[in-house]
Subunit: 380 residues, 2 copies
């Protein structure tokens, strides 16, 4: 269990497989996000048809509603969601810092007000692990603090707390059927990232994550931070870049040795009328598509592109029909899942740099009607 | 084409099959409603998995948005919706009277303001047929006027206009691959219903419909009106009860010789947290279900009941997740589609009265936590 085998390497990139109680993850892998125990607007059957391997769920949200103990009593996340494949839960840390109405950090944990009902709640590393054990995901995360990426003093303080909390998370863990991953923090500061990568590596966990990126820093800072960290993280363990990202970020991350990604971007864009293509985004509300009989992408093999025209999708969006979000989510998720599969194959074929150059070049193509280049990744 | 074969009869009820360019309808049949060229919250693949035979789409809505000419240019409704089985479009009459912001009726047609943008629009019988020919459904409806069911003078006037408009609809029709059904009106007045049934029958169309019911009249008036009309409508042609209804109405309609039904009720209730069961409705927001590990109905074979608990569905509803509407729509549609299949089988087995008695008795069972008896049908 939790064995990571590397089948092929190409530069810093690797094609591997990570075994979990609910099956093997073939990496690089992209995880759709099911914040509230559902990937928005799609059924688990549709997710399986998309051949998604891994789904992320958010500890913060599920702790607040419907409650982790209720989920445990109902048999855990896999059972209630009816998702038979691997699940990863985050630690709740990121959401406390990005969503809660108020928060007070002390050495022991965080006190905050629920964004749902304003109630006063508290999370410590021990709480986070207890909640994640109740949820029952295959991969769980150490409780961490995600600091403002450009404030060096705060970044150091948050990193140090994250290290102590990682040790406490490990100590609190009781279930053998869950893999605990540690999280490297340190903002955009190479010295902090280096220090954090060394510390987290020293815990000898079954996998390691890079947190606190794609939160407003530049692409240069983001990619350099990944490089600094991955030069230190053990090569024989999976590396998870949290909350990232765009197709471009996926390619850049894989080139730098990342194995696991997750992001709300595909489903969030879908709910905002944006289709992700290999060339960039298509805003399907654009009048240019009003009579367009073509699919979003003629080369795409997803259910949406095999069946429906841009004109029909635009009609559904105009008419505020839920089917629009479903069909666009299916397409956007397919785009990201297929990109991860293509990256894996390119590594196995020893063609990663060629593949990456071609794919990145396409994404730079001149924007046209209703098409805009990818922006920064959304976060849950 | 448009041949109606009756395979079995049981009292006034019949089990038949009606051939259309997109396949055979096995009757009694219930049609899910796809008002804006989509059955709300479900994909056509999910509808096929539910084995829906027939989908209704609304001429009024599609005329206003995205426009019938655009749909014709894109290959028609079957093509844009990717629904390969039969489609029925209504005439637009009912929606003009129930949805438009303003309407002025004259002998020639109706002028009204769009409920979407307030623009001034006009529909005559010739317009309705032209639009329905552009949409391309297998079954199209004569343009009709649905009057206040309790006003005798207006009901007579509207009925007379409906008769003239039915003749003009027939004269305007040009496509041989569409079956035009006439609509019997006459409110709750037996003499008017009789007169209307005789007139519409005299047009010798491939099928006949009963309009203007389930619009506020009593169940007694509704069922009596069906009896009066079906005593006159030709036995060898399919009979369509428009916009009806509840499970109880389906049973009562079949007992009185109705073959085709449609209603928004299953999908509308789904979007309002209500699950339809053979015993009545379940309001899944009820706190009684917060930790309930059971499916909506343990005897139900739909995707939702095979996989998901009431507690999970309640969580999705509380969290305002779109998946709730999808899963409840699948269940509610299954309930109505299965009821129609069961009614057909009961007719074939010569057991209709037994089946109906048992089913109606279950629906009378004492309401309990979160369960209420079926009310009146919604209309699009």
């Amino acid at each position: 269990m939790f064995n990571f085998s590397i089948h092929a390497r190409d530069g810093a990139a690797r094609a591997g497989s990570f075994s979990t109680p609910h099956g093997v993850l073939n990496t690089p892998v992209f995880a759709p996000v099911g914040t509230q125990a559902t990937v928005k607007a799609v059924t688990p059957a549709q997710l399986q048809e998309l051949d998604a391997q891994l789904v992320l769920a958010n500890t913060y949200h599920l702790f607040l509603r419907p409650g982790d103990e209720l989920i445990a009593n109902l048999g855990g996340l896999h059972q209630i969601m009816q998702w038979p494949r691997p699940i990863l839960t985050d630690s709740g840390g990121f959401q406390v810092f990005s969503l809660a109405k108020m928060r007070k950090i002390d050495a022991d944990g965080v006190t905050f007000r629920s964004h749902i009902d304003g109630s006063l709640r508290r999370l410590t590393p021990e709480d986070s692990i207890r909640i994640q054990e109740n949820l029952g995901a295959d991969i769980i995360m150490a409780f961490d603090e995600c600091a403002d990426p450009s404030n060096a003093a705060y970044a150091r303080e948050a990193m140090q707390r994250t290290h102590l909390w990682a040790q406490r998370s490990l100590a609190a863990k009781t279930r053998a059927d869950q893999a605990l991953f540690g999280i490297v923090q340190g903002g955009i500061f190479p010295d902090l990232r280096e220090e954090s990568a060394k510390f987290i590596s020293s815990l000898d966990l079954p996998g390691n994550a890079i947190g606190g990126l794609s939160v407003g820093e530049s692409k240069t800072d983001m990619y350099r931070s990944i490089e600094v960290v991955n030069a230190i993280l053990p090569i024989e363990k999976p590396r998870y870049l949290m909350g990232v990202g765009t197709p471009e970020d996926l390619i850049q991350g894989v080139l730098r040795g990342v194995d696991i990604f997750d992001c709300v971007l595909p489903t969030r864009l879908a709910r905002h009328a944006s289709a992700m293509t290999r060339d960039g985004r298509l805003n399907l509300l654009n009048a240019a598509f009003s009579a367009d009989p073509n699919p979003i992408d003629a080369e795409c093999s997803c259910y949406t592109c095999r069946h429906f025209s841009r004109a029909y999708l635009r009609h559904l969006l105009n008419a505020k029909e839920m089917l629009a979000a479903t069909l666009l989510s299916i397409h956007n998720l397919h785009t990201m899942l297929q990109l991860a599969r293509d990256l894996r194959q390119a590594i196995i074929d020893g063609q990663l740099q060629n593949f990456a150059d071609t794919a990145l070049e396409r994404m730079k193509s001149r924007p046209h009607a209703g098409r805009e280049p990818f922006g920064k990744a959304g976060k849950p």
